[in-house]
């Protein structure tokens, strides 16, 4: 295992100064996520425009470097995407973390893929995978306007 792999510079940088922090105005969707094992929390606020594309996405959260960085990077990558495109990106991300593959999504350019790949280090730290995926599950929940809060323990 390699700490430098987990805590890559880009992660540290996003962890220290997360983008899109706070509650955006006029959000149309929201959801809370919670990891009962460690107490990590995230609250995402989402504004979909008339074309059902992500116009704005912000979050409030309390968690470790990994979970903050993941949420921060997520908010950057999905802006302008449709709901289906967001899901495609999320699946590509989960796939990469679980199955050790590359990021495979046609909705991301190479730079964006590199950004997401910076989270690949968690593969070697199984207890930290949930830190990296919580915000994504919560975004999905907001998109689907699920009533229940996201709880990492019920995510496969």
């Amino acid at each position: 295992m390699d700490l430098k792999q987990l805590y890559q510079d880009i992660i540290l940088e996003h962890g220290k100064s997360p983008r899109n922090l706070g509650r955006c105005k006029d959000y149309s969707h929201e959801a809370k996520g919670y990891n009962p094992l460690c107490g990590d929390k995230v609250h995402v606020y989402l504004k979909l425009n008339n074309e059902k594309k992500v116009e704005n996405l912000t979050f409030e959260g309390d968690g470790c470097a990994i979970s903050l960085a993941s949420a921060s990077i997520m908010t950057e990558l999905v802006k302008g995407k449709s709901s289906d495109e967001v899901k495609d990106i999320m699946n590509a991300f989960l796939n990469m973390i679980k199955n050790n593959s590359e990021i495979e999504s046609s909705y991301l350019d190479d730079d964006q893929k590199t950004k997401l790949m910076s989270l690949s280090g968690v593969k070697q730290f199984p207890m930290r995978v949930k830190c990296a995926t919580l915000s994504w599950h919560t975004l999905l929940s907001a998109l689907e306007r699920k009533k229940k809060d996201v709880n990492t323990e019920i995510i496969d």
Partner: protein, 406 residues
């Protein structure tokens, strides 16, 4: 299958009892443990010990993964659909209490009916009795016949619109009756009544497929399946575990804890409060592997052979009576010997190194039904041989001599 090779995997058989070779015929009570299981436990405590779930250091990650591997192992072993349907308890008794308590809390009210059978072990009666004591539920007993078979037509007749659950053994720990559990579940299904199966004696001795049975709940104990003590298993359909309230409350089974309100964790954690029997659950996976290494079919075949041999030989013993004559019988043989009380049999046999059990075997209702207060019981495990049976029979013959009976 080489039985001597298998027997040699059990360290206890190199031990002498009262100077004699151990003939262990008390497996229905608890089975002996193969070396692979004992070694796994030993290794875990020596090299890997940590609590699970809560910590994120390497030892904890490893223990958590191993713990979940057992859950998957059990799921596959009894063919459940989801691993969250496997809940670890301390024994089968707790597993049945978990269902009786939570199901009772949510679904049982004054005058509701619970059906059990005359075959049941106290562990599948007392938990329901609590609902009779505390919620005025009614317990109905499906009768058995003299052979020790449940009279299915009578069970069917007992079902009414007030019947809330049926709780029944898969295999009797006295008569060895293999209950036609699938037939009972089909009957119950038609009337929309859930079924809990007490699988304590079945899981170690016959193939169990909970998906095929389509039962709602299935309970058993690890220590009867060549595993360590301290581990019980409850299989329950996800829909039930989701609907039912929590049972034991504490660490690990919560989601969020506030001063005014607590929310509970998803499955399976919802039902696994506090520190689990971590090492024992992890070790239980080795017990499953042990059975798989033999092959369930081989195990069944071997135990059948020994059982048949035992029945034949025992029947030849003067004034010995075998209790029950069920259509389908596994290797549990309760018997009486005219003029000799079962406790005297057990004591005299023990002098010859033969370990059997005497008493009511936690089945007072069954004994009352058959007009007995106590029986002697020889029960068979994978390690028993024909030679064991020969020694048993000779020791029984000796009983009448010791007691100076003709």
């Amino acid at each position: 299958m080489n039985i001597n090779e298998i027997k040699s995997q059990f360290p206890i058989f190199s031990k002498k009892i009262n100077g004699k070779q151990l003939v262990y015929l008390d497996s229905s009570n608890s089975s002996q443990k193969p070396l692979s299981v004992i070694n796994r436990l030993n290794d875990f405590y020596k090299n890997e010990f940590s609590n699970i779930g809560r910590s994120i250091h390497s030892l904890a990650v490893n223990a958590t993964n191993k713990f979940e591997e057992t859950r998957v192992g059990v799921k596959n072993f009894i063919n459940a659909k989801f691993k969250e349907e496997i809940i670890f308890t301390k024994n089968a008794t707790e597993a049945i209490n978990l269902v009786a308590t939570t199901f009772g809390q949510k679904y049982i009210k004054d005058g509701d009916e619970i059906i059990i059978t005359e075959l049941e072990h106290h562990s599948n009666y007392v938990p329901w009795n609590f609902l009779r004591e505390n919620k005025k539920a009614i317990i109905k007993f499906a009768p058995i016949n003299e052979d020790g078979d449940i009279v299915i037509s009578k069970l069917q007749e007992l079902i009414t619109s007030k019947t809330k659950i049926i709780a029944v053994s898969h295999l009797s720990n006295v008569t060895g009756t293999i209950v036609p559990i699938k037939e009972i579940i089909e009957i119950a299904r038609k009337k929309n009544v859930p079924v809990l199966v007490d699988g304590c004696q079945s899981v170690p001795h016959i193939s169990v497929d909970v998906s095929d049975l389509d039962c709602d709940f299935y309970a058993f104990s690890g220590h009867k399946v060549y595993g360590p003590t301290g581990v019980g298993i409850l299989y329950a359909k996800k829909k039930w575990l989701e609907k039912l309230p929590p049972y034991i409350g504490g660490g690990a089974m919560i989601s969020e804890v506030k001063k005014d309100k607590i929310t509970y964790a998803p499955l399976p954690e919802k039902y696994e409060a506090g520190t689990m029997p971590t090492a024992e659950v992890i070790t239980f996976n080795e017990s499953i592997k042990f059975i798989k290494s033999i092959g369930m079919d081989n195990l069944i075949k071997h135990e059948k052979e020994i059982t048949n041999y035992a029945l034949e030989k025992l029947k030849k013993i003067n004034s010995l009576k075998i209790i029950g004559n069920p259509k389908n019988k596994a290797g549990v043989i309760a018997f009486t010997l005219k003029g000799v009380h079962p406790h005297d049999i057990a004591t005299i046999l023990d002098e010859d190194g033969v370990a059997i059990r005497a008493g009511h075997h936690c089945c007072q209702i069954l004994h009352e039904r058959l007009n007995l207060t106590a029986t002697a019981r020889a029960s068979i495990g994978i390690y028993n041989t024909k030679e064991d049976i020969d020694i048993l029979c000779k020791a029984i013959e000796n009983c009448r001599k010791v007691l100076d009976l003709k």
